[in-house]
């Protein structure tokens, strides 16, 4: 549709609308815009490039806006700069292994379910819809998907803590907001990345329902990593603060008194990266 619109505009001597798009089959992650208020148009599991005109009523007015987030400056029209995502990955979204000398691939058996679950998280295309959907402009789903993908595999587990800390830190630095558990990101993720394992335990709770949460506000704690790197005096140990990554419930557990944390994978925690009382 935008192609056609632009052809018409150019023919009429007007400036076409700039927009990003490349593979046109929903895998490269380059496209994306808010259509009628919904990231990627709001169709389940669909990127903007796969939204067809037949899904709109004839003659209707369609409103298209770029992703809006402080961390994604608009370049022109619908084109935005998602370089902040690359910077998050650069901070640690990898296994620190160089080319050459890898052992035989089958020397390291990996639980098939873990591989599948890692793949669920690895399916992220880096489009930024999660950020656009989030009222806080948080990149938590994007960040946690990578943390979760790698931490579930033995190759990635070695650096899991370091990675999670570095990536969350970088996320904050890049100007993304914090997660306060709205879960809008999951709804609009075109690859349907979510905390599926634990959500499955809660039948009947719609994804967008308001969820009980305790958002920690304290002048000393400005970043997620502050929570992890020092004891938190305002909370007592019996409140047992849990701190988990988004995605398939993989993340970090923090002991607020000692400040210690551990890499964590379980179905026991329900929510995203936040501080909550239990």
């Amino acid at each position: 549709m935008l192609d056609q619109l632009n052809e018409n505009l150019i023919t009429e001597g007007k400036e076409p609308i700039s927009f990003d798009s490349d593979c046109r089959e929903g895998i490269c992650g380059m496209c994306g815009a808010v259509v009628n208020g919904l990231p990627h148009g709001g169709e389940k599991g669909t990127t903007l490039c796969q939204v067809h005109m037949r899904s709109f009523a004839d003659g209707s007015t369609i409103t298209i806006e770029p992703w809006r987030s402080a961390a994604f400056p608009v370049i022109r029209d619908l084109v935005i700069d998602r370089g902040a995502f690359d910077k998050i990955i650069q901070s640690g979204g990898y296994v620190s292994v160089s080319t050459g000398g890898a052992q035989d691939a089958n020397a390291l058996p990996i639980n098939a379910d873990a591989a599948e679950s890692a793949m669920d998280a690895a399916a992220c295309i880096g489009c930024g819809a999660c950020v656009a959907a989030c009222p806080n402009g948080s990149a938590m789903l994007f960040t946690a998907a990578k943390v979760s993908h790698l931490a579930q595999l033995p190759q990635g587990r070695v650096e899991a803590k370091r990675r999670a800390l570095a990536m969350v830190d970088r996320m904050d630095e890049q100007g993304f907001g914090h997660c306060s558990n709205h879960r809008e990101c999951e709804v609009f993720c075109p690859k349907e990345i979510s905390g599926a394992p634990h959500r499955a335990l809660e039948p009947g709770i719609p994804a967008r329902a308001a969820r009980p949460r305790l958002v920690l506000e304290h002048p000393q704690i400005r970043k997620i990593t502050d929570l992890i790197s020092r004891p938190i005096p305002l909370l007592s140990s019996e409140r047992d603060i849990s701190f988990v990554g988004r995605g398939p419930a993989h993340g970090l557990r923090v002991n607020p008194v000692s400040g210690s944390f551990s890499s964590y994978y379980s179905n026991g925690f329900r929510d995203g990266l936040l501080v909550r009382g239990r």
């Binding site: 023919t11 037949r54 370049i75 890898a102 098939a112």
Partner: protein
Amino acid sequence: MALDAKIPGGPIETRWDRHRFDLKLVNPANKRKYRIIVVGTGLAGASVAASLAELGYEVLNFCFQDSPRRAHSIAAQGGINAAKNYPNDGDSIYRLFYDTVKGGDYRARESNVYRLAQISGNIIDQCVAQGVPFAREYSGLLANRSFGGAQVSRTFYARGQTGQQLLLGAYSALSRQIEAGKVKMFPRREMLDVVLADGHARGIICRNLLTGAYEKYAAHAVVLATGGYGNVFFLSTNAVGSNVTATWRAHKRGAFFANPCYTQIHPTCIPVHGEGQSKLTLMSESLRNDGRVWVPRRQGDTRAANDIPEAERNYYLEERYPSFGNLVPRDVASRAAKKMCDEGFGVGETRLAVYLDFRDAIKRDGRATIEKKYGNLFQMYEKITGEDPYTMPMRIFPASHYAMGGLWVDYNLMSTVPGLFVLGEANFSDHGANRLGASALMQGLADGYFVIPYTIGGYLAAATSKPVSDDGREFGETMAEVEARVHKILAVNGKRTARDFHKELGKLLWDHCGMARNANGLKKALVRIPEIRAEFWENVRVTGTGEEFNQELERAGRVADFLEFGELLVRDALHREESCGGHFREEHQTPDNEAKRDDEHFSYAAAWEFQGVGAEPTLHKEPLAFEYVKPTQRSYK
């Protein structure tokens, strides 16, 4: 100029080992003194940029997208081949080598293919170490599936997103080197020329797509990993941004272009559904295992598929190829579909489609079984077409998918321009006239992770390590030429859009240089392309200016290059008076309509030397020797 492929001698099994030993090494402490430019961030580009940086070289990496993770390698679905022989079903390096040479219809270089097969196993090891989530058995070991007619299961996969996962693996390795400061990443830069000094590639000229500024970068070597030219047909399964510009500009600077007429047309794509369509979508060819391909027996039959009685359906593949039926190879299936449509039997609104029907399979096996096997593909089809393939037959049509041809390279993957290396789909090296399924990912990563890191050292060790500078006369001149060309496009200010020209060129090539070609049509195209090109330079309309983010200008520049390249594609197809792999000349077929090679006259790689736009290029031949796999005629009856 005689082409020297620098193929090592001796038994094929030991060639790569010995060559690696013979190559000069660069002292580890000296590596940081060399700067290498890598253009492209797909499987080949990202893997080579990361690997060279790990070795200690200074790397500058460029891509035109907003992030290196967008490169079109990401869209590959099926898998990656490796001769691991984990299933113990008789695979071996030699068998992968043999299958690839044969699959390429005996038009690939044996030594390169053997090396590819040798390295294939290392790729899987490397990717697993990076955390690529390949599919696994319950034992925890890697799962394999069979693919593309191979008789062994050697394809590793990550759901239907293997390309994505491999690319993200290479991207993560690249990201690690960016963080370490060893790779400097330049997204949204389009390479518009190669700079030569003393006959060696010494840098590139880019346009900064955000600001429109021209930028020059100097290096000791330039590596192009810029993908294939499938979009010359306008409609293809490639990303809409995929283009020929980088390789074409390098060609104009002296790099020979080899075998451009070897283009792969994939049979099972979702057909064109209207004038405004921008690209075509591939569906796995595994669908042909259970689907039956047919067209109505009556020409121009407009009844709905389900209203056409059994007796009036023509299951033409089953009739023509009784033993292979619907499972004939890609090129045969593609050509048969085209023939039906050409003769007026096509279906759907555009009459350019054939049916792929699961009615009988659903009747036989039940809907649940079919859903389990093909559910995701059916869903994809429904999403795109809005039709339910469980209740009405799919419509399919072939589409341009991959380019086997590319810049000519020697065994070191160096082009005819010293210091200019070409990797992945951008080169011509490993697939001959036809690529086998799941081999593109293998080649891209083999080149990037395991070939160039060695061979580039051999070149650099003999070159100067003195710091390079972009101050030279050559940089200024090349940059001025690049700027002049952009200004020229902007100055036309005509009436037609660049996309419109691209469409016209694409349709012309699809009609005359697509699945089946003949001298008459090719000659027509050869007359018409320069006319379209001339009109482009008189009548293209590009809005905006060159000093800003201007996607229309980007497009116009790419289309201008396609308009020059298209002519070479046709010339190559016209000169190759035989049929082989993806190149089918109607004049050269066996009595039962199979591709008929002419090994006596055409057993060579055709490497074209640029002589000017519109001027006839010079043909150089690299003879192909088949010492191990003896050429035979393929047959599917």
